[in-house]
C-alpha cells in the first residue's frame, strides 16, 4: 500500500485497512468491488451498498451462490413475471405482488417444471385432464350421433331427382282443391293448438326440450327437408312464445311497466313478423341458371346501355363506359349512352371520342328516374341495360341475362347482383374485408334468389336489363319515390310482367367510402321503401300474387327496423333502472320461454343464412343503421312526399384516420346508459331484494349482450385510412411480360386497378424499380401489350404502374381486366358456413376493438381522464396473479 494512494483516497484506504484486519485480501477486494458497483452503478444508498456484500458472503456460507445465482434470477423472473423492475424502486407494491403471486402459485396449478411434481399438483393435473377428456368425449359423441342420425334420415331417399319441396308442391294431390284446403286447414289447426294451448311450466319445459332435441338431431342433416322441419319448429316455438307473451306476461297492475312492456311486445311482434316472412321468402331459393341464346345472332334483340351520372368524376364513368362498349353483343345491336345530369362538356367530348351516345336534358326533374325517362325518348332499343356509373360490367353480362327474355316474353326485368370490389365502410373500418360476409351478401346471395322463387325479384337500379315495352306500358320509370328502382319493378309486376334474378355477379363497383355516406344511402332506401308503402302499398292494389305481396311487405318491414332495434337495445334497462317488469312472469318462466326459443331461431337462421350472413352480425349492421333510418322512415310514413333524392358519393378518400363522433353519438349514449345499468344492476344484486336476483341476472345478461353489439357498432365509426385512389382488385389469371432486353416471362396477375397491376413470377426476375416492361395480356385470341413501369419489386412479386394510355389502350386494358367474364365469379365461395360460437367471438373481438377505438380517439379534454382511468386499470391489473412464464426447452 503506497502512501500516495492513501493521500488521494483517504476514506477508501482507511476502509481497506480496516477490512484487511478482518478478511483476507481477496475478500476485501470483493467487498469493495461490490460496494462500488452497488453504490455507483445500481444507485443503492451507502449503508445498503456496504451491507449487501456481507449478506452475500454470509449466505455463501450456506448455499453455493455461484451455482444458483443465474437460476435464482431466472426462477424469480419466470414465477413472478410481473414484478416491476428494478425491484427495489417499487418495493412496496412488489411485496404485495409477490405475496399475491405466491398465494396463487401455492394454490393453483402451474406447470413450470416437468420434474418434481408435488402430490397436489398431480391431482390438479389429473382433474384438468379428466375435464378436457370428458369434453373431448362429448364432442366425439356429438359428432358420431349427428352422423348416425344423418345416415338414418337420408337412408331411404338415395337420389331425389327433384328437391323434396318441389316434389311435394307439385304432387297431383293438390289439384283437388278440397284436399288442398283441408290439408292446409288441418296444418293450421295443429299449429294453432301447439301455439295457443297453455302449458304448465314443466310441460313447456318438456315441450321445448323435445323441440330442441329434434333440432339438435337435424343439426348435421343436410337437405331442404331438414331445413323445412327446422323452420316449422322455429315458427311453432316463436309463435308460442309470442302467444305466451300476449296472454300471460303483461303487467296490468303497473301502468309504467304496462306501457314499456307493450312497447317491447310490439317490437317483438315486429321481429316475429319479419322472421316468419323471412322464412317464407327464403324457404326455397330458386337459383336460376342462365339460358343460352340462339346461335343465330339475327334473333338477338337490340339493347341500349344507360349509364346515368350526375356528379361523379369522369375517371369513374370512363371504365364503365369502356367496359359497356366491350360487352359481347353484335355491335349494330348495342348502343351505349351516358345520361349526364351534370351536363358537363368534358363528358360530351369523351362520349364523342369513344363513340357512345351522350344525352342531357334541360331540367333535372325526378333525378335518376327522370333522367332515364328522358333518355327513353331518344333511344329505341328493345331492351335497356342500366349500370350505375361506377358499375363496370363484365363482357358476358348480356349473354348471361338476355336468354331469360327470349325464353319468356312476359319477363320484363333480369337483375344481377351488385358486387363491390372495394371494402364497404363496415368491412374497411372493422378490417374484415372478405373474411365475414358483408351486409349486401344476404340480400344478393339469398333473399333475391328467394324472391325470384315467388316472382318478386327486386329491381336494384343497376346491373339489370329491362324490357322497353314493359316500361312503356307502366309509363316509364316510377319517379314518385326516392327508390325509383323498387317502385318500377313493383309496377311492372302489378301489370302482370315477370321478373328474374341471376345470382352471378356480372358487374362490380365501388362501395360507399365513408360510414356517413353509407348511412345516407340506407336512409334513402328506407325512406323510399316507406314512401312506396304509403303511395303504392303492395298489400293493396291489383295485380300481385299473395307471395309477391308478402315479399314486398317483408322488404319494407326490414327498413322499419329502426324503432324495434332501439327498443331491444334499451329493453333490459326498464327493469334495472325502474324496476318495471316488462315481462311480467317469474324468472323460471322467462328462462324457459325465452332462451330455448332464441336458440332455436338462431340455429334455424344460421342454417338458412349461414353462407351469406354470420350469426349476430345482422344485429350489428342493424344497430348502426337503427337510429338513422328511424326518423326518415317515420316521416315518410306520415308524409310520403317530403324529402328529395340524394346521390350516394363514391370513389373518395379518407386521408387520415379519424373517428366519426357525429355518427356514433346515439350509440355512445345508448352504450353509456347500458354500461351504467350494469353498475346499477350489480349494486341492486348486492343490496336489493333477493327474490329479484333471477330477473336481474337475465336483464343484466341481456344488457351485456347489448353492450357487445353496441361496442361493435361503435367500432364501425372509427374511419380507417383509405390511401389508394384506385382500388386493387384481387385476381388470378395468367399473362406475360416482355422485358426491355427482349426476354419474355410467364407471370400470374395477382391484382389490378385502373392504373396498376400486381404480378407474380415463379422464376427469378431481374426487374428493378423504374424498368420499362411490356405487359402482355390476352383477351380471346388477341394479345394486347401495355407499356408499364416497375414501381416496386419483392422476391417474386412485381408491382407495375400504367400511365398515360391512349383511349384505345385503356379500352383494351379494361377488356383484359375488369370486364373479364370470370372477374367476379368467386365472390361467394370464399366464405365457409356460419358457426355461431365463432361468429359471436368475432363480434366480441370487434366490440372490444370498438371500446379501444373510443378510448384512443377520445376528444382532447377527456384524454387525461381516460389516461388516468386506464392507468388505474393497468395498475390494478398488475397485482393480479400471472401465469408463470414457460421457457422453451429448445432454446
Amino acid at each position: 500500500m503506497s502512501f500516495t494512494i492513501f493521500y488521494n483516497r483517504p476514506i477508501h484506504s482507511t476502509l481497506y485497512i480496516l477490512l484487511s484486519i478482518l478478511f483476507t485480501d481477496k475478500l476485501v477486494r470483493y467487498i469493495l468491488f461490490k460496494f462500488h458497483s452497488y453504490f455507483n452503478q445500481h444507485k443503492v444508498n451507502v449503508i445498503e451498498a456496504f451491507l449487501m456484500p456481507f449478506i452475500t458472503l454470509f449466505s455463501s456460507l450456506f448455499i453455493n451462490i455461484k451455482k444458483n445465482k443465474l437460476d435464482f434470477e431466472l426462477v424469480l423472473y419466470s414465477y413472478y413475471p410481473h414484478l416491476r423492475l428494478p425491484y427495489r424502486t417499487y418495493v412496496y407494491s412488489n411485496i404485495i405482488r409477490f405475496i399475491i403471486q405466491s398465494l396463487f402459485l401455492m394454490f393453483f396449478k402451474n406447470r413450470l417444471k416437468e420434474s418434481s411434481y408435488s402430490i397436489k399438483e398431480t391431482a390438479v393435473d389429473y382433474f384438468y385432464n379428466r375435464v378436457s377428456y370428458v369434453l373431448r368425449q362429448l364432442r366425439w359423441f356429438d359428432l358420431k350421433l349427428g352422423k348416425l342420425i344423418r345416415r338414418l334420415l337420408s337412408k331411404n331417399k338415395k337420389a331425389p331427382k327433384k328437391s323434396a319441396f318441389k316434389a311435394m308442391s307439385e304432387a297431383r294431390i293438390w289439384q283437388n282443391k278440397l284436399i288442398k284446403y283441408l290439408t292446409l286447414a288441418f296444418i293450421f289447426f295443429l299449429l294453432a293448438i301447439f301455439i295457443t294451448i297453455p302449458f304448465s311450466l314443466e310441460a313447456q319445459a318438456v315441450f321445448i326440450s323435445f323441440i330442441l332435441i329434434v333440432a339438435y338431431a337435424l343439426k348435421r342433416v343436410k337437405g331442404q327437408m331438414a331445413t323445412i322441419v327446422m323452420i316449422t319448429l322455429s315458427v311453432t316455438t316463436s309463435s308460442r312464445y309470442l302467444w305466451w307473451r300476449y296472454t300471460e306476461t303483461l303487467n296490468w297492475g303497473d301502468p309504467v311497466a304496462l306501457t314499456l312492456g307493450a312497447g317491447l311486445l310490439l317490437a317483438e311482434t315486429y321481429a316475429w313478423l319479419v322472421l316468419i316472412l323471412g322464412f317464407f321468402q327464403t324457404i326455397n331459393p330458386l337459383e336460376r341458371k342462365p339460358i343460352p341464346l340462339p346461335k343465330n345472332t339475327d334473333l338477338w334483340p337490340t339493347v341500349d346501355v344507360y349509364i346515368p351520372t350526375y356528379n361523379e368524376p369522369l375517371s369513374v364513368v370512363k371504365p364503365t363506359t369502356l367496359a359497356a362498349l366491350s360487352i359481347d353483343w353484335p355491335a349494330d345491336k348495342l348502343n351505349v349512352y351516358i345520361l349526364d345530369d351534370g351536363k358537363r362538356p368534358e363528358f360530351g367530348e369523351f362520349a364523342k371520342e369513344v363513340g357512345v351516345g351522350y344525352l342531357t336534358r334541360p331540367d333535372n326533374n325526378h333525378a335518376k328516374a327522370g333522367n332515364m325517362n328522358s333518355a327513353m325518348r331518344y333511344t329505341d332499343g328493345e331492351y335497356i341495360a342500366i349500370f350505375d356509373c361506377d358499375h363496370v360490367p363484365a363482357r358476358s353480362f348480356l349473354q348471361m341475362t338476355m336468354g331469360q327474355f327470349l325464353k319468356d316474353s312476359k319477363v320484363c326485368l333480369v337483375q344481377t347482383p351488385h358486387h363491390f370490389f372495394s371494402a364497404d365502410p363496415f368491412e374497411r373500418n372493422l378490417n374484415n374485408h372478405s373474411q365475414i360476409p358483408n351486409e349486401n351478401m344476404l340480400f344478393y346471395g339469398l333473399i333475391q334468389d328467394g324472391n325470384d322463387m315467388w316472382d318478386a325479384t327486386f329491381f336494384c337500379g343497376s346491373c339489370a336489363v329491362l324490357k322497353r315495352e314493359a316500361l312503356e306500358d307502366i309509363g316509364g320509370f316510377a319517379f314518385e319515390t326516392v327508390t325509383e328502382d323498387a317502385h318500377t319493378a313493383l309496377r311492372m309486376q302489378r301489370a302482370g310482367y315477370k321478373t328474374a334474378y341471376i345470382n352471378i355477379p356480372q358487374a362490380a363497383g365501388l362501395a360507399t367510402d365513408s360510414l356517413s355516406a353509407h348511412i345516407g344511402q340506407r336512409i334513402r332506401w328506407a325512406r323510399g321503401m316507406a314512401q312506396i308503402f304509403r303511395l303504392d302499398n303492395p298489400l293493396m292494389g291489383k295485380g300481385l300474387s299473395v307471395p309477391q305481396r308478402l315479399c314486398y311487405i317483408n322488404a319494407m318491414l326490414h327498413f322499419l327496423s329502426g324503432i324495434p332495434r332501439i327498443v331491444f337495445l334499451t329493453a333490459p334497462l326498464a327493469l334495472i333502472y325502474f324496476n318495471a317488469y316488462i315481462i311480467y312472469a317469474p324468472f323460471l318462466a322467462i328462462f324457459i320461454y325465452v332462451v330455448p326459443t332464441l336458440i332455436q331461431i338462431k340455429a334455424t337462421n344460421s342454417r338458412i343464412q349461414g353462407k351469406y350472413r354470420y350469426s349476430f352480425w345482422g344485429e350489428v349492421y342493424e344497430s348502426v343503421l337503427a337510429w338513422y333510418i328511424l326518423k326518415p322512415t317515420t316521416v315518410a310514413l306520415f308524409n310520403p312526399n317530403k324529402g328529395k333524392f340524394n346521390v350516394t358519393e363514391k370513389g373518395g378518400l379518407n386521408d387520415e384516420e379519424h373517428y366519426d363522433w357525429g355518427i356514433s353519438k346515439p350509440y355512445l349514449i345508448l352504450l353509456i346508459i347500458n354500461l351504467l345499468s350494469i353498475l346499477v344492476g350489480v349494486s341492486r344484486l348486492v343490496l336489493g331484494d333477493p327474490s329479484q336476483i333471477g330477473v336481474l341476472i337475465i336483464s343484466m345478461g341481456w344488457a351485456i349482450y347489448n353492450i357487445i353489439i353496441l361496442g361493435a357498432a361503435v367500432a364501425v365509426a372509427a374511419e380507417a385510412r383509405q390511401v389508394r385512389h384506385s382500388h386493387r382488385i384481387k385476381a388470378n389469371f395468367p399473362a406475360g411480360i416482355r422485358l426491355a432486353n427482349g426476354h419474355t416471362l410467364k407471370v400470374k396477375i395477382t391484382d389490378y386497378s385502373d392504373n396498376g397491376v400486381g404480378i407474380e413470377t415463379e422464376h427469378a426476375h431481374l426487374c428493378r424499380v423504374n424498368d420499362k416492361i411490356e405487359l402482355l395480356m390476352s383477351r380471346g385470341n388477341k394479345q394486347f401489350s401495355f407499356t408499364t413501369h416497375v414501381c416496386n419489386t419483392r422476391k417474386k412479386q412485381i408491382g407495375l404502374t400504367i400511365k398515360d394510355l391512349s383511349l384505345e389502350k385503356q379500352r383494351a386494358f379494361i377488356q383484359c381486366t375488369f370486364s373479364r367474364a370470370d372477374a367476379w365469379l368467386d365472390w361467394q365461395n370464399n366464405f365457409r358456413h356460419d358457426r355461431p360460437s365463432y361468429s359471436f367471438k368475432e363480434v366480441q373481438k370487434t366490440s372490444l376493438r370498438g371500446f379501444s377505438n373510443l378510448l384512443f380517439h377520445a376528444p382532447r379534454p377527456l384524454q387525461p381522464i381516460i389516461k388516468f382511468m386506464t392507468n388505474i386499470v393497468i395498475y390494478v391489473n398488475s397485482f393480479t396473479p400471472k401465469k408463470p412464464i414457460v421457457h422453451n426447452n429448445y432454446d
Binding site: G736, R738, H743, L745, K746, N781
Partner: protein
C-alpha cells in the same frame, strides 16, 4: 405417322428454330419425333447440339441405306437428319421425303420437315393428311405474299392442310397488332394463335439448344406448347 412441313413464306422467318422447338416440345410430351432438314443451309443440327464441323447429311449419299448413317439423336431424344453440303434439286428433296416413309419407326411417329422458303409445294409429294405450316411475320411484305399464296393455293389443287402461323409477334408494335387483327378477322387458314417474339429463341441457338431447355418460364415456350397441342388436335381430325 404424321408429317408436318414447316416453311417460311420468305427467307429468314425462323422456320428452323420453330422446327427445333416444336420437335423438342413434342418429344417432351412423349411423341416420337424425327426432324428432317430439307434446307441447304443445313443448320437444323445446330439447334440440337450438332457441332458445326459435322457437315455431312443425306445429300452426301446416293442410297437411302447410307443416309441412315447420318441420323442423329439429341439429348432429349429427338432424332434428326442434317442436310449435308451437296447441292440437290427438288426431285432429290421429294425423293428423301418419300424415302422417310420406309423408315422403321413406331406408328405414332411425327416427321417434321424444315423446308427452305423457295421450295415449290407442288413438287413435294404431299398427301391429304399432311400439314403445311407457312410461317409469316406481321409486316407488309408478308401481307402481300400471303395473298399471292392464297391465290396460288386456290388455283392449284392443294389437298393438304395448309396453315399460316405468325412468328416473332410483338403486340407492342402498332403495325403488327393491326395486321394481326386484320388477318385474324379476314384471312382463312390462319392459326388461331402466334409465336411471341422472344430473345430466348436467339439465345438458345447460341447455346446450341432450344428455348424449352434454356428458358422454361418464357412465354415463347408456352406458345410452342400451344402449337404442339393444336397440331395434335389437327392431326387427329
Amino acid at each position: 405417322m404424321q408429317r408436318i412441313f414447316v416453311k417460311g413464306i420468305k427467307g429468314g422467318l425462323g422456320s428452323t428454330s420453330v422446327v427445333a422447338n416444336l420437335a423438342c416440345v413434342l418429344k417432351k410430351s412423349h411423341v416420337n419425333v424425327i426432324a428432317i432438314d430439307l434446307d441447304p443451309k443445313s443448320d437444323l443440327g445446330l439447334h440440337f447440339g450438332l457441332p458445326w464441323k459435322s457437315t455431312k447429311g443425306w445429300s452426301n449419299e446416293v442410297n437411302f441405306e447410307d443416309v441412315l448413317l447420318h441420323f442423329h439423336q439429341d439429348s432429349d431424344g429427338v432424332i434428326f437428319l442434317p442436310f449435308g453440303d451437296i447441292n440437290v434439286d427438288q426431285n432429290d428433296i421429294a425423293h428423301i421425303v418419300n424415302n422417310c416413309k420406309k423408315l422403321d419407326c413406331p406408328q405414332n411417329s411425327w416427321f417434321l420437315f424444315d423446308c427452305p422458303s423457295y421450295i415449290d409445294l407442288a413438287h413435294l409429294p404431299l398427301e391429304p393428311n399432311d400439314i403445311v405450316i407457312e410461317l409469316i411475320n406481321c409486316d407488309a411484305t408478308c401481307h402481300s405474299l400471303i395473298y399471292k399464296r392464297l391465290k396460288k393455293l386456290k388455283s392449284t389443287d392443294s389437298s393438304w392442310k395448309h396453315y399460316f402461323l405468325v412468328n416473332r409477334y410483338n403486340s407492342a408494335s402498332v403495325l403488327e397488332f393491326d395486321l394481326f387483327s386484320l388477318w385474324q378477322s379476314t384471312l382463312p387458314l390462319m392459326a388461331p394463335f402466334f409465336i411471341n417474339s422472344d430473345e430466348v429463341i436467339k439465345e438458345s441457338t447460341a447455346y446450341r439448344n432450344v428455348a424449352l431447355n434454356c428458358a422454361p418460364y418464357s412465354i415463347a415456350n408456352d406458345d410452342f406448347e400451344t402449337l404442339a397441342g393444336w397440331l395434335v388436335s389437327k392431326a387427329a381430325l
